[in-house]
Each structure stands twice: as structure tokens, then as C-alpha cells.
């Protein structure tokens, strides 16, 4: 046995069967538990019925698992090789909805494939991290210090973020930029450059404010002062906080949440599902789910630290950060410490694209784990 392990370290090329056993089963279990919590909450949201949400979410999760395993088992070098292609594919789709959205009515954020409504902006969250990881993999430590080398990755990040912002989807655009920022940071971009960007960003806030839609402005204002207008724009925020707080220590009991079941709570099956959980299971439930996410994120970070090639490191870290952003923004939003920006709780909120995106992302993280010992040259050739 000891020899086997020694050999596998020496020779990272694995058979498919070996890879399968190398899958990070603890992480799979975590994902299933979190998704299970989601099913339970969706069942409750429908007043104790599988339809319309829980059953469909289960089917999608099943699909997502298959997709995740497939992605995880595919060689990391495949993802390395096609990283830019995937990015440009996602970018093309993003442009596609933008064009269709202009032709059609109002803000359309998805492409209807019949069985699923594909949101290119969600796919872009994965694709951007892939592309950036590939780019920084090929840049040496010295070159990273040179501003010239940052122009391309900045463009890679800003272009899709700009398109998404135009949709308009403030939450997703912010998430794209923040996840990209994390990759930049982990890749070794100098501290002062971040400081510069932050200062520039803060300076741009008043200018950016002009470009916001009225409802977006209202949301931000409401966030800053939710009790100002309890029946208007502040209504959702306030009702969510009432639901959250009234859950107290142990909650009102499964399917007993008054705020959620009497419809005081908005969007209880999607963005505000965490509030419903908090109302029905109290602090015990909300801390419990937070703990599950914490473990999942810890896995992600451990994988990124363990990987022996820069691409896998950056990819795992970028995708994990992405997951963190989902969780943090959503929870902060429903607890009234962040404006309502429309970010769902991954694996729990009802919705196909986000679920699939997160599963694909987790599949890539697992691929990073399975292929942790594979070395990739800067130009992309594998080294043993």
C-alpha cells in the first residue's frame, strides 16, 4: 500500500477508476447535505408540497451531480487548454443576450433552452476564473510586477462585468469583479495596486451613482435606512429582518414560519430562502447552515493550497471565493447588512442556472484536487 501511494505521487497520471476514488467524498457529502437543506426549505415554501419547487430542484441537483463528476474527472490540462475558448464562448453568449435583450422587451438575462433558462452571466463567473487562472499561470513572478502584464487580465474581467452591469445586474457584476480581484491578489499582484484600484473605485462611486436605475438607487437608499419607508421600498428588507429575528434561538418549527407562509416574506423560495430557514429553525438552523458553507469553503481553500500547479491553485481559489461571495452577499442581504442585489444562496435557492454553475465550479475544484500533483509548464505542456 505504502508503495502504491509512493508510486501515485511519483506518477500523477491516474486511470479513470483511480480518479473516481480520488474524488473528494467529504465535499460531495457536504454538497448533498446543503442541497438537502434546500429541498426541505423548498418543500416548506410550497406549504408542504414537492411541486412546484422541491421536485424540480431535486432533478436539477441530480443532473448537477453527474455534471460535477464529469467535470471533476476530466483532466485538468483539458480545462487549462480550453480555458480561453470557454471564456470566449461565455462572452459570446453574454453578448448574445445583450443583443436579444435589446431587441426584446426590457432586461433579459437568460437564453431559453427549453428545459433550462441559461444565464450566461452565471457561466461567466466560472469562465472568467478559468481564463484568469490560465493567464496568471503563464506569467512569471517578475512579470506580474509589470503593469503591462495586467492590461489583458483587467480587460478579461472588466469586459464581461461591464456587459452584466448593463443588463442591469449589479450583484453579478460585483461578484465577477470581486472574484477576479481575488485571483489577481492570489496571483501576486502588488498590494499598492489594489489600494490604487480601491481608491479609484471609491472616487468613482458618485459618478457610478448617476448611471444606476431608479429602483437600484431606491434599494441602496433603502438598505441605508430600511425603516424609512416600511410599506414601500423598505418593505422587503424589513419583513425579511422581522422573519429572521422572530425565529429566535430555535425557530418556529418546520413549516411553521408565519412570515414566510403568510407571504410577508418576499421571494421566499429564491433569494430570501435563508430567511425562511432562519425563521423556522432559529439561530440553530442559520448558524448550522453557515457552518456547512464554512466547511465547504475550507475544503476549497485546502485544495487550492495543496495543488502543485499555479493554474489549479488559482482556479480552486477563484471558484471557492466565488462561492463565498454568493453565500456572503446573500446572507448579508437578507440580514439587512447589504443592499438587496438579487444574489441567490447557492444550492439552496430555487433556480437552475446557479445550481448548475455552482456544481460545475465544484467539479472544477475537485478536478484540481484529483489532478493536484500534475505539473503544467508555463506554456501549457505537462511535466511530471
Amino acid at each position: 500500500m505504502a508503495v502504491d501511494i509512493f508510486l501515485s505521487r511519483r506518477n500523477p497520471e491516474l486511470t479513470l477508476r483511480q480518479k473516481f476514488w480520488q474524488l473528494n467524498w467529504g465535499m460531495v457529502l457536504l454538497l448533498c447535505v446543503i442541497a438537502g437543506v434546500g429541498f426541505a426549505m423548498l418543500y416548506s415554501a410550497a406549504n408542504g408540497a414537492m411541486s412546484p419547487w422541491a421536485s424540480r430542484q431535486m432533478i436539477r441537483f441530480g443532473l448537477g451531480l453527474v455534471l460535477m463528476f464529469t467535470v471533476a474527472l476530466i483532466d485538468i490540462r483539458f480545462w487549462f487548454r480550453y480555458a480561453y475558448l470557454i471564456y470566449f464562448g461565455a462572452f459570446a453568449l453574454l453578448v448574445g443576450v445583450e443583443v436579444m435583450g435589446t431587441i426584446g422587451m426590457g432586461a433579459q438575462r437568460w437564453i431559453d433552452l427549453g428545459f433550462i433558462r441559461l444565464q450566461p452571466s452565471e457561466m461567466m463567473k466560472v469562465a472568467l476564473v478559468l481564463a484568469l487562472a490560465r493567464y496568471f499561470h503563464g506569467v512569471s513572478s517578475e512579470d506580474i510586477g509589470r503593469p503591462l502584464y495586467l492590461i489583458l487580465p483587467i480587460m478579461l474581467a472588466v469586459a464581461p462585468a461591464g456587459l452584466v452591469l448593463k443588463q442591469p445586474d449589479l450583484g453579478t457584476a460585483g461578484m465577477l469583479l470581486l472574484a477576479a480581484g481575488a485571483v489577481f491578489f492570489a496571483a501576486g499582484v502588488r498590494w499598492w495596486k489594489f489600494a490604487l484600484v480601491i481608491v479609484a473605485g471609491l472616487a468613482a462611486v458618485p459618478i457610478g451613482w448617476q448611471f444606476l436605475h431608479d429602483y437600484q438607487k431606491a434599494r441602496v437608499m433603502t438598505f441605508l435606512n430600511p425603516e424609512n419607508d416600511p410599506l414601500g421600498a423598505g418593505y422587503h428588507s424589513l419583513q425579511a429582518m422581522i422573519a429572521f429575528g422572530s425565529g429566535a434561538l430555535t425557530g418556529k418549527g418546520y413549516m411553521q414560519g408565519t412570515q414566510s407562509h403568510l407571504n410577508f416574506l418576499p421571494e421566499k423560495q429564491t433569494d430570501f430562502i435563508f430567511t425562511m430557514l432562519a425563521e423556522e429553525f432559529g439561530l440553530v438552523g442559520s448558524l448550522g447552515l453557515l457552518g456547512l458553507y464554512f466547511l465547504l469553503l475550507a475544503y476549497g481553500f485546502a485544495i487550492s493550497l495543496r495543488a502543485r500547479n499555479q493554474f489549479a491553485r488559482l482556479l480552486a481559489l477563484g471558484l471557492t471565493t466565488n462561492l463565498f461571495l454568493y453565500v456572503f452577499i446573500n446572507m448579508a442581504m437578507v440580514m439587512g447588512v447589504f443592499p438587496v442585489v438579487g444574489v441567490p444562496l447557492p444550492l439552496v435557492s430555487y433556480g437552475g442556472t446557479v445550481l448548475l454553475t455552482v456544481m460545475i465550479a465544484m467539479g472544477l475544484v475537485m478536478s484540481c484536487y484529483i489532478h493536484r500533483d500534475i505539473r503544467i509548464s508555463r506554456r501549457g505542456t505537462a511535466e511530471v
Binding site: A186, Q239, A248, L305, F324, F328
Partner: protein
């Protein structure tokens, strides 16, 4: 090898920054946990309250209004089912179409339709809107049968006050009507739509007791106000069932008997306990109309009617008592020491100073003593003794018999009449008393005014010698459980009057003679039935002044005068004559002569009373010592 070294360096750099990022994220997640603790532990109570406020609405359940029963338990005011059609928009779909279909089945006017359309568009789609109230059984069944073609239409039941006796009991009971702004006291019941309160009569006087207390229903509502379920229900306390002293049958009879007159009233009392057995006033009105809502025309007709149908004349009509007042003068005279056999010569008139005061009998009665003076109702006799006694003594005696101030029956609107004294005239008119005014007052004219209720009380006191006080309410009906321990409240004990029983005997004998002596003024209106004979006194009071010229030419007969200028006809009586139990007063406005018009009515009523004998029959048990909360 070079690249490997470089990669090691990159890994070290990555590890540093990765841990930094991870640490930052862990810190932020800890911040979230802190926020959770703040919301769900520190602020939990506040949010719990807010959540409960959100979901729970308190609804008031109006209690059924207490019934009003007569002394034997006959319902005089009760509640009947009120069927109303309501419409729920979300089930109806096309409201106008449904209303059209509905108007084929029940009577709906333009006004109703417009109101419904307006309300429907203003209210939430699941809130029922009342289309029409007070449906008949026929209409209810037509709507029910056609249910399938009337989506969203349902029949709801409510309660509405019902007065089965309609106009014959209206003045006693009063009526209920919608709550006006000034009736609001803070009782949330009063703010319920459709709630009705007592506006007159017993309904008003005992409104609080009849009203009961509201129940509450805690209902859970969702964010749109739709009722999800009832969480808790506390039944209210129905209003008390009030038992009156009235005998429903007798009241109906009295009311019927008065119907022949334009405007009249009658009171029947039990002499022993003051129970008012009948209290009738015509013309009357139908109190049921007030529930349903009067039209403006109906209301105007009622308040502009010259015969004042809304006024209870038995307690609020003030009339010169005429000769019915003579017993008071006689008693005052006896008390002042004038002997019953003191005689006065009546030539048909009496002169005082430059004025001449006439007896009703033009050529006079000749020599009359007190007994004869009452029997023949000789005016001159009373002119004479009143001068000797003085107005203040007459007034003092009258006051003992309930005249001159309210007797205090439990109805609003009772008036006190007038018994003049020297001081009274100075205070109210500002002039000194004239000697001639004593003469006018001695025959119950001039300033003297009394209500029919006061006259009945006066007779009750003459017949019993006690300070009988009328009452209209016996108490609250006892239910079976309370009867076990409860005893009926003792009959009221009245104190004796400060009048010599012998003097009262003289009055009773004289009144006996009025009715039962062939030469008495009311002999034609006597009761012939053995043991039921009545003793009475007639009264005819002028409402105009008879001029010297007219007297010379012969006084115009009442029948030839316009109605408004005819005399009031009065009669007071008690029966049976030797064992008095019931008394009665009758006033017929502008009826003409007391003996011809009022006495036969009183005779019929007293005969009916004795035949029914309400005092001899077992009445409904009531709770001992019940305090009835009055609303002024």
C-alpha cells in the same frame, strides 16, 4: 530546475496570499454569525412582536342584543335573522354580469348596483361586499336555487331587531338605529359597521344592559389581509333579557281602543306595586322602519306630522287636568280643617273682584257638600274652598300625589307638569300671584299641567294611600340555574302618604259616586260587571278662553269647533271600587267632554284589565337584586 524553484517560490507566495484571503473570508463569515446572534437573540423579542402584529388581527364578535319581554315572557323586541346577499369579486369574475343576473331574481335598484360596483373596485378582491339586506325567504330561495349561475354570490345571515308589536309598543320600547358620531364612547363595538344602538324608549334607557359584551376572534391573516384561520375565539356575553311590567295583550288592547281618536294616550297601573301594565299613545309609528333605515321622506313625514307620532304623550304630554284635579283641592281643604259636610251654594257662577267665574253648569248646582261637589264636579264649590285654603296648600297636597315633578319612570323624555305656587309664579313669570288664579287652578285649569302618567299615579295614591311610584321594568330574566338560588325580588314597599285615611276614604266614596251613582258625571260609563265596578273622575279642560259674549249667546258646542280648539277630555279611575287593584288614566286631546269621550275608553280598558287580571297571574321569574345599568 530553474522553473521548479520559481514554482516553489510562487507556491509560497500563493500560500501567503491564499491564507490571507481565506482568513478575510472567515472573518466576514464570523461577522455574519454575529449578525445572526444580534437578530435572533438580542433583538428576537422585538421581531417576534412585529411578526405577531403582522399576522394576527383581532376581530370583534357583536353579541346578540338582549330581548325585551313583557311580564309574562312574551317577546316585545327580539332579533330575527337578516339575510343579505354578498358578492366576492374574485369568485364572481365579471361583477356586472353577475349583478345583472341577480337583478332578475331579487329587487335591485340602480342605486344598489352603483354602490356595489364602487365598493367592489375599492376593496380587495376577496372582501365580501353586501349587495342587499333584508331579503325575504322567497328571494333567499331564488338566489340559492340559481347558485350555479351566480358565481361569487352567497347569502349571509346577520341579526336584525324585530318588534312584533310594531306601532302598539313603539313608545315604550323605542327603537334601535345606526350609531351616530356623537354616540361614540370608545366602546369598539360601536364602531362595527352595521352595529345598532337603542335610540329611544327602553332600548335607549337600558342600552348598555341590552347590548351585552363583545366577543373576540383572533384571526390569522396573510400579507394581503386574507383570513387564513381562526386562532382563538372568545364568545361575548349576550345582552340581558329585560322583563318589563307591561302586559303585552293589555297594551295591544289599549292601543287598539285609542285608535278611534286622533291623538290620545292611556296609562294602566297596578296600584299595589306600581307596575305599568299598559302605556299607550296614539298616533304611533313602526319602530321596525328604523332598523331597516328610514327614507328621508318617511323621516320628514314623522317629524312634521302635527299629531307628533314620535312623542310618547303618556309621559311627555302635559295637559290641564281639569276636574280630575279636584280631589287634590278637596284633600287640601280637608287637611286645612274644612269639614266634609261644609256646604256651598252654587248659582252657576262666582264673582271675585270684578271677575266672574263660571260653573260648567250654567244654572248652578244649588247647595252642595264636598261629596256632591265631586260627584257633580261642581266648580263653584272648589272656587269657594280654594280661596279658603290658598294655592300653596293645594300645591303641597298635589306634590304628595306625584304632581308637579317627574314621577321618575325609567324612560327618557318624561316631563314633570306644573303645579303653581306663589313662589313659582314669581320665579317663572315674574309677577305676583292673583287671587283669581287660585280659583282657576282649583278646577285644574290655568297654570296647572300634568301628564297622563302623573294622573295615573295620583289615582293609584288616592286608591292605596301609599306613595306608589310607577315602574316599567321588572328586571333581568333569570335562567334556570339562577332560579335555583334566586328569589323574585320583593314587591316594592311604598311608604304611606301623609294624608288621613279617612279623608282618602271620602275621596274614594265620591269617585264611586261619580261612576256608580245615577247622578254621577260618569254614570253612563260605569262597569256593570259584579265586583269589577270602577270609581273615577271626569275632566274636561279648556284650551281656549270663553268670552262673555259667547257665554251670553250660549257656549259653542265642541262638535262645532275646529279640532284644535276643542276641549281635552280626561278620565281617571281605579277598580275594583272596594278592593282597588288597577288604576287608569285616559287623555284624549281635543276630544270634547271627559264623561262622553274619555270615560268610556277608560271603562273598556279597566274592564279588559280586570278580565285579564295580570296581577293575579304568575309572571316571569327575574333575578333578585339585579342592577340595571342605565345609559342616560
Amino acid at each position: 530546475m530553474l522553473q521548479k524553484n520559481e514554482d516553489n517560490e510562487r507556491q509560497r507566495a500563493f500560500s501567503r496570499r491564499g491564507l490571507l484571503l481565506g482568513g478575510a473570508q472567515a472573518l466576514l463569515l464570523t461577522g455574519l454569525a454575529g449578525r445572526m446572534y444580534y437578530l435572533q437573540v438580542i433583538e428576537a423579542d422585538r421581531y417576534k412582536t412585529l411578526a405577531e402584529d403582522n399576522r394576527i388581527n383581532l376581530r370583534l364578535l357583536p353579541p346578540p342584543r338582549g330581548r325585551i319581554l313583557d311580564r309574562f315572557g312574551l317577546p316585545l323586541a327580539s332579533n330575527r335573522q337578516n339575510f343579505r346577499v354578498v358578492l366576492v369579486r374574485e369568485h364572481a369574475g365579471d361583477v356586472e354580469k353577475v349583478l345583472m343576473a341577480l337583478s332578475q331574481l331579487i329587487e335591485l335598484d340602480e342605486h344598489d348596483t352603483k354602490r356595489v360596483l364602487r365598493e367592489v373596485s375599492r376593496k380587495r378582491s376577496f372582501v365580501p361586499v353586501t349587495v342587499r339586506e333584508n331579503l325575504t325567504w322567497d328571494e333567499v330561495s331564488r338566489v340559492e336555487v340559481n347558485g350555479p349561475e351566480l358565481p361569487g354570490v352567497t347569502i349571509e345571515m346577520g341579526q336584525i331587531r324585530d318588534y312584533p308589536f310594531a306601532d302598539s309598543m313603539a313608545h315604550v320600547l323605542g327603537y334601535v338605529a345606526a350609531v351616530a358620531e356623537r354616540d361614540l364612547t370608545g366602546d369598539p363595538l360601536l364602531e362595527l359597521p352595521g352595529f345598532r344602538i337603542g335610540k329611544n324608549g327602553i332600548e335607549q334607557k337600558y342600552d348598555l344592559a341590552l347590548r351585552g359584551t363583545a366577543g373576540t376572534s383572533q384571526i390569522e391573516v396573510n400579507a394581503y389581509g386574507r383570513v387564513i384561520r381562526e386562532l382563538n375565539r372568545e364568545e361575548g356575553k349576550p345582552g340581558d333579557e329585560l322583563v318589563l311590567t307591561i302586559d303585552g295583550g293589555l297594551q295591544t288592547y289599549a292601543h287598539q281602543r285609542l285608535q278611534g281618536e286622533k291623538s290620545a294616550s292611556a296609562v294602566v297601573m297596578d296600584i299595589e306595586n306600581g307596575d305599568v301594565l299598559a302605556l299607550a299613545s296614539v298616533p304611533s309609528y313602526d319602530p321596525n322602519l328604523f332598523n331597516i333605515g328610514l327614507t328621508i321622506k318617511q323621516w320628514n313625514d314623522l317629524i312634521n306630522d302635527p299629531l307628533h307620532p314620535l312623542t310618547n304623550k303618556a309621559i311627555a304630554g302635559m295637559y290641564a287636568p281639569g276636574s280630575t284635579f279636584k280631589m287634590m283641592v278637596a284633600l287640601a281643604a280637608l287637611k286645612a280643617g274644612i269639614r266634609p259636610d261644609y256646604k256651598v251654594f252654587c248659582p252657576g257662577h262666582m264673582t271675585l273682584g270684578r271677575s266672574r267665574f263660571h260653573c260648567w253648569k250654567r244654572h248652578g248646582h244649588g247647595w252642595v257638600d264636598m261629596h256632591e261637589a265631586i260627584q257633580h264636579s261642581c266648580d263653584v264649590y272648589f272656587y269657594d274652598v280654594s280661596r279658603k285654603v290658598g294655592i300653596d296648600n293645594i300645591a303641597a297636597m298635589s306634590n304628595q300625589f306625584g304632581l308637579g315633578e317627574r314621577v321618575g319612570i325609567d324612560l327618557n323624555g318624561e316631563r314633570g307638569g306644573v303645579i303653581p305656587t306663589r313662589d313659582w309664579k314669581l320665579a317663572n313669570i315674574g309677577e305676583a300671584w292673583q287671587g283669581g288664579e287660585t280659583l282657576v287652578a282649583s278646577i285644574g285649569q290655568g297654570f296647572v299641567l300634568a301628564t297622563p302618567l302623573q294622573l295615573a299615579t295620583m289615582v293609584a295614591r288616592i286608591a292605596s294611600g301609599k306613595q306608589v311610584t310607577p315602574r316599567l321594568t321588572r328586571g333581568v330574566r333569570a335562567d334556570a340555574a339562577e332560579l335555583e338560588e334566586g328569589v323574585a325580588p320583593p314587591a316594592p314597599e311604598f311608604l304611606p302618604l301623609d294624608v288621613s285615611p279617612a279623608h282618602l276614604d271620602l275621596m274614594r266614596e265620591a269617585m264611586d259616586a261619580v261612576s256608580n251613582h245615577p247622578r254621577g258625571t260618569a254614570y253612563r260609563a260605569r262597569i256593570e260587571e259584579e265586583g269589577m265596578e270602577l270609581a273615577g273622575k271626569t275632566g274636561t279642560s279648556q284650551v281656549r278662553r270663553i268670552t262673555m259674549a259667547e257665554r251670553a249667546a250660549g257656549v259653542t258646542k265642541n262638535e262645532q269647533l275646529p279640532w284644535r280648539r276643542r276641549d281635552h277630555a280626561l278620565f281617571v279611575a281605579f277598580a275594583p271600587v272596594h278592593k282597588p287593584r288597577y288604576c287608569c288614566s285616559v287623555v284624549v286631546e281635543h276630544g270634547g267632554g271627559g264623561s262622553a269621550v274619555a270615560a268610556p275608553i277608560a271603562r273598556d280598558i279597566l274592564l279588559e284589565t280586570q278580565q285579564r287580571d295580570p296581577a293575579g297571574r304568575r309572571s316571569l321569574p327575574i333575578i333578585a337584586g339585579t342592577q340595571i345599568v342605565e345609559r342616560g
